[in-house]
């Protein structure tokens, strides 16, 4: 399943991000690719949702792969230790191939 996220994800809209990701995972696929090409900002409220998605997909034998991550967002992922628990690739195709 491929989901795209854009703009800002912070404590104001983290809940709708969570709902969108849940919807994307409803189809039963445990492999989730998140296209972050248009994501300009993520705070810990958004990271929390990503972590939940990682836990959920891994429990089903899958995982989460991110792609097209902007530099600032990548720094946030690195400082948070998230690059250890999810795959980060340059392109959507590479993210899909990482599974």
């Amino acid at each position: 399943m491929i989901a795209a996220v854009s703009g800002r994800v912070d404590s104001v809209n983290a809940t709708s991000f969570e709902q969108e990701l849940s919807k994307a995972m409803e189809g039963g696929s445990s492999r989730l690719v998140v296209d972050c090409g248009e994501l300009s900002y993520i705070s810990s409220a958004g990271l929390r949702i990503l972590l939940l998605a990682v836990k959920k997909t891994r429990a089903q034998g899958g995982g989460v792969a991110l792609c097209q991550v902007q530099d600032h967002v990548r720094e946030v992922l690195e400082v948070s230790g998230f690059t250890r628990i999810m795959t980060v690739r340059d392109t959507v195709e590479q993210a899909i191939d990482s599974f």
Binding site: D10, K55, V79, S80, I85
Partner: protein, 139 residues
Amino acid sequence: MDVTLGIDVGMDQHEPRRVVEVFERFATANGISDLVVQRFCLALDEILTNVISYGFEKVPGKPRIRVDFGLGDGLLEVRIEDNGRSFNPLADAPLPDFTLPVDERPIGGLGIHLAKNLVHDISYRRDKKRNCLTLTQPL
């Protein structure tokens, strides 16, 4: 400080985003690099979200939160003050454990860690029953 701007912050979960947007305009108008702006925005967001969510639990009196931006002498400074319960994020916030496997990682607790690690320097003092956090960045 040559240029300063201060804003009072309300007890509303939408306030951090408003303050961040004011800071973005202030910093960009004064030629601060995108990288520093982005890092400070996140730190401000995380610290304010934390203060608004937890800083005033069981604290009597009217909550007051104030943020001041300053620029001068080759330094960018952001000061966050609140009259909530005594909390030093540099010492009192738990350190996240990145060696934990995914299923044992706690949900949350990353905000203060991000602020501490993305900003060049943060200092804390408790003064007249207020928490005072100062974020600085040499320019």
